[in-house]
Amino acid sequence: MDGLQRIPILKVGRVLIVPIQVDMDDQTVMHLQERILSELERTGARGVLIDISLLEMVDSFIGRVLSDIAAMARIMDARTVVVGMQPAVAITLVELGLELRGVDTVLNVDEGIKLLRCEFDFNEEDEGEFSWGELSAFAEQINRS
């Protein structure tokens, strides 16, 4: 079975949410990067929120993937935030010597949303279909699951 479709990309307002839960092989990663790029293009989303709370480790490969996604998103004028890194993973990452270039890391989805929110500083008209309430509710769902 191929694992290509296993990572969902959810769009809430102007933010793409990518919950990474599976061990990614190279193919899955390439495919995910392409999908994020085309979703950014298609939807004009301004933020990418990558939830890694279910990853038990981040090695140099995944670290590079996260940086690559951030670089790619920046070209599309979107900011990338990584949320939910477990403390043990964070410590290991430092010892490994990885810096997630261009990636902001925050503790949970709510923090991530806050960060993206002040970054864009949406006013009422800008928000359009967007609802922070909707996103927060969704975030809670992710946090609980």
């Binding site: 090695d59 140099s60 670290g63 477990q86 043990a88 290991t92 010892e95 490994l96 990885l98």
Partner: protein, 109 residues
């Protein structure tokens, strides 16, 4: 196995990460090889876990260079080997063009 031996979460994470780095190197640079995990006991009696990654690939011509942060011939970050050394208590690497590469690491409980 790391769990069974009683490693705490942070050490489990170190071991999983090192396994991923070194196994990925084997697959990437040597195509195939094997990994051996064995519980071990130090001279002072403390317990630990030893991981061995060996392959019969092309070997590493300049080990000193390969151990440097940022050195890569595979378009990577060059963090796998030096990072693994930092994550483990013991780290040994042997490599030759004839026999391939063997990396042995130990984390003590």
């Amino acid at each position: 196995m790391a769990v069974a031996l009683g490693f705490r979460l942070i050490d489990q994470t170190r071991l999983v990460t090192v396994t991923s780095e070194l196994a990925r190197n084997v697959v990437k640079y040597a195509r195939r090889g094997r990994m051996i995990a064995q519980p071990t006991r130090g001279e002072d009696g403390r317990e630990g876990l030893r991981l061995i990654f060996e392959d019969t690939g092309p070997g590493i011509p300049d080990i000193n260079a390969a151990m440097r942060d940022g050195f890569t011939t595979g378009g990577g970050l060059g963090k796998g080997l030096p990072g693994s050394k930092r994550l483990m208590d013991d780290f040994r690497i042997e490599s030759s063009a004839e026999h391939g590469t063997r990396v042995t690491v130990v984390r003590w409980l």
